[in-house]
């Protein structure tokens, strides 16, 4: 019985993960100062759908990863970045988590 429950739970998690929207990365102009760019991170983390956020100043990248079963649209990401005072050059979907992007950058 326990085994069935575990399998069902794993299946549910996998299903939710499969339904999660992709991680979005935005190329951002003007993002040169961590103190001033904190608004991007704070406002993205405040979204109910956000799982994780990654900001890379040297590469001018902001990445937002949605929670399992949730989706964040490019329009939402663009609006948050613009409200923080920056210009979005482009947004693309990537097959990676924010943590993995962070890990790649620190290697």
């Amino acid at each position: 019985m326990k085994a069935y429950a575990s399998v069902a739970a794993l299946a549910a998690l996998a299903s939710a993960a499969a339904l999660a929207g992709p991680t979005l990365t935005a190329e951002v102009n003007g993002m040169v100062c961590a103190f001033c760019a904190q608004g991007i991170e704070k406002n993205l983390r405040a979204l109910p759908a956000t799982q994780d956020v990654y900001v890379n100043l040297p590469q001018r990248i902001v990445a937002v990863e949605p929670k399992a079963g949730a989706t964040i649209t490019p329009e939402t990401l663009t609006r948050v970045v613009r409200d923080a005072g920056y210009e979005v050059v482009s947004v693309k979907e990537v097959n990676a988590t924010a943590a993995s992007l962070r890990g790649k950058a620190t290697k």
């Binding site: 102009n29 003007g30 993002m31 100062c33 103190f35 760019a37 608004g39 704070k42 409200d83 005072g85």
Partner: protein, 211 residues
């Protein structure tokens, strides 16, 4: 009276990072503390370009004889921002309205304080120029300052980034000297602090914090 111009203008200079306001919806606190003055501001950004706030300044003349205090309501406007691939430049307008008290005149005087700031910043270089007028009845003073600095290295978003910068400022009629202050600045995604000692050996400390 000249002290008021000095203090208000310097308070504006003290908050010179990339800008004297935070992001839309944020509340930012700023402080600038030196031997002849201490001031604190707080403002709230109601749009990405507009912030309303309040400030209080205590200031003293170079000869220690005159002390002024200014309490004001402030409005800050991001007039224009240039977001470039590896740089950002800004034009700011700020104005305050409030009252000044002091030990060289009776009562309170209405004061208003229009000013501007232009800045340019990359991850390694920072330059800024700012000025502010002070008007209170017959009192009229001007203030001008410039800042330039560099960071010791390019930092990741999560890291603390140290900077070195020099500020030169002049407060007409309040002080005959041009005050030159070398400072170190530490920036992270959570705080902004500056500390320095001017060429007369007087300490200075600035901070900004966004809630």
């Amino acid at each position: 009276m000249r002290l008021a111009a000095f203090a208000i203008a310097a308070s504006f200079a003290g908050v010179a990072c990339a800008g004297p306001m935070g992001y839309n919806g944020s509340t930012m606190a700023m402080g600038d503390f030196g031997r002849n003055w201490a001031e604190a501001w707080v403002n709230h950004a109601v749009t990405p370009r507009d912030a309303f706030g309040a400030g209080y300044t205590w200031m003293r003349s170079d000869d220690d004889r005159v002390i002024h205090r200014v309490a004001e309501a402030t409005y800050t406007r991001l007039v224009h921002r240039w977001n470039m691939p590896h740089a950002q430049a800004n034009a700011w307008f700020v104005v305050g309205a409030g009252v000044m008290t002091g030990n060289d005149f009776e009562g309170e005087r209405f004061a208003w304080t229009p000013g501007f700031q232009l800045d340019y910043e990359t991850t390694r270089v920072y330059v800024a120029a700012m000025g502010r007028l002070y008007r209170a009845g017959s009192i009229a003073n001007d203030y001008a300052a410039g800042r330039a600095g560099f960071s010791f290295y390019e930092a990741e978003y999560e890291q603390v980034q140290p900077w070195f910068l020099v500020e030169a400022r002049h407060m007409r009629a309040m002080s005959e000297r041009v005050e030159v202050t070398p400072m170190v600045r530490f920036i992270s995604s959570r705080y902004f602090v500056e500390a320095g000692v001017n060429l007369e050996g007087q300490a200075r400390f600035n901070f900004m914090y966004i809630f």
